[in-house]
Amino acid sequence: MELLIWLIPLLPFIGFLLNVFVIRREREAGLVASGLVAAAFVVTLIAVAMLAGMPPEERRIVSTAWEWINTGSFRVPFAIMFDPLTAVMALLITGVGALIHVYSIGYMHGDPRVVRYFAYLNLFVTMMLFLVMANNLLLLFLGWEGVGLCSFLLIGFWFERKSASAAAVKAFVVNRIGDAAFILAMLAVFAYFGTLNFYGDGEGGQLGFLERVSDIAGLRIGPDWQPIFVSTAISFLLLIGATGKSAQFPLFVWLPDAMAGPTPVSALIHAATMVTGGVYLMARAEPLFVASFTTQGWVAWIGALTALLAGTAAMAQWDIKRVLAYSTVSQLGFMVAACGMGAYVAAIFHLLTHGIFKALLFLAAGSVIHGTHDTQDMRRMGGLKDAMPITFRTYVIGALALAGIVPFAGFWSKDEILAHAISHGQTPIFVILFLTSLLTAFYMGRQVALVFFGTQRDPSYHPHESPQVMTVPLVVLAVGATIGGAINLPVLHWLTDWLEPVLHEKAGEFNLWLALIATAGAVGMGYLGWWVYTTNAAKIKIGGKDPAYRYSGDIWEGMEEAWYFDRLYQRTVVAGFERLADFLARVFDPQGVDGLVMGVGRFFGGLANGVRALQTGYVRTYALVFTVGVLIVLGVMLWFAR
């Protein structure tokens, strides 16, 4: 069993090594990469089956490969673990990952750097698996940074494009802010628990810190008049880390730009898996978050605010992928808000369903882009439903799932979050989230209408359906998006039971009225969106304004610009840094640093000039001085030897 769970991350890693060092041809690269990830999926399935065969309270396997760091009291084992939460994450990563690998074979066909692409992709899967399987914060951080690196490499995969490399750098830099907080959180955890392990190894060794949260209960730091609970400090730092990785307010700005990467990358990394790392972290560190009432409030509000902000922004986008990107941010906001309200199972549930249907939507969008010869602007599309029937149908299924229409997967998970909010009296959060879900339905209706209905507004290309290697994953994912909600149906609540050993949560009540109202609202808003943009299709011009712009004016422009956050950061933080760098380069470096260095040089130069006179070159004089020294030493020794 331990060997089996080591196989899960190692199989993609082998693929990475093969792609880096051995494989030179495109075809082999795709096959090896997809094959090994698929194999990892199979291994994960077997592992899950074996895990299910154990008694619920024993469902955690910890395996230590070697002592990674051992410096005195700071010891970190290279240990991974496998428990129900990890299991579902690993299933999502390897399953969706395998499909996206297969899809990539078709999508990336003909690109000159395909081998490198698959190497990155395999490395990403490895790192993501380490992230979810790590048994300590440091190994998790390794995965965390590893996926960040892969994200950077893949966003900037077409680095010839200025925008792509700029977006890559932006993603990397914004994530650093969160990572800094993560490191601080690690230091705090080590300071207060003396270990970075989540759980003990089950063999009588030291317990992990998640099992010892009670150690810091009531422990306060800070000045007497304004103390902070240690749990609040740690969990808040982790929250900041999560906002970076999961693109939450205020650090969400990098995700829409990240769409500059290849579309399968957007599907895998920036929708299904990596960006959910923050949510996973919160679920994993649930005991810490639950211990802090303050942080929980912040989490809920940040999630809700992000959901609303991104939802509105998604409404006004023209780029087919940016719509989905803002939608992703919005849905991540849902999950985070769920975490903040204590509905961790719902958050994970939504994470899983979202992972499936958002991957489906991205892949379908990729198929559209592929079929329209790299067109991304929806104003140049329209009427594609006849040219790309499979893409159209799967896209609609994805849209229905995202909009939360019965019986598609998205409905069940979103409904669970809303129900939890209302049943726990989180009314303001509920209102925001409900509003956002309505907006979601609206912009998905808009998008479907813009892309597939009406007539083709740009006649410069001939749309065609994508090859089978791309459509088959779409169909598989569409099936998942349709029936995926079954894993946690209100009556059966399999997922809740499965995660019970980790998250200790009971299934919530199913709120029939809420479900009815939400469905009705979603259907209505979805139809409204579709109707507005099909009837006004004629008014949409390439490069023109949105029909809704007439009614809302500046607000619409604000939504289009995602409420000017980019511009804000550009004018404050970035401008400030630029000015600082300018100061350092033009003033401080030549005058301060160079002055210091040259000053030291000049000082010693002067000193040397003075001392030079002593160096006569006469060996005999040196010997004389030497003798004086010997005499002094001997004299001192004599004096003290008395």
């Binding site: 030079r612 006179a613 002593l614 160096q615 006569t616 070159g617 006469y618 005999r620 010997a623 003798t627």
Partner: protein, 100 residues
Amino acid sequence: MVPTSYYVLLSAILFTIGVLGVLLRRNAIVVFMSVELMLNAANLALVAFARERLAVEAQVLVFFVITVAAAEVAVGLALLVSIFRTKRTADVDEVSTLKG
């Protein structure tokens, strides 16, 4: 028996003469000889103390000193010959270009 201190006294005198040779003489070869004299003076003191304690190890040490001194003389004289070839003199004061 002759007291050890007599030998030590002799050794001290010889050592001082060696030092004076280094400080006063300008002929590089004589300077070198003075260094050898100092080595010998040290050896003498060493053997005298060894005799007092009957320590054979000190004889071993003197043996090493003598051997290494032989190597040192060989290299040193080779250097002197090299210097003489370029400078045409064995005056140590002439070899003073390395100065501030």
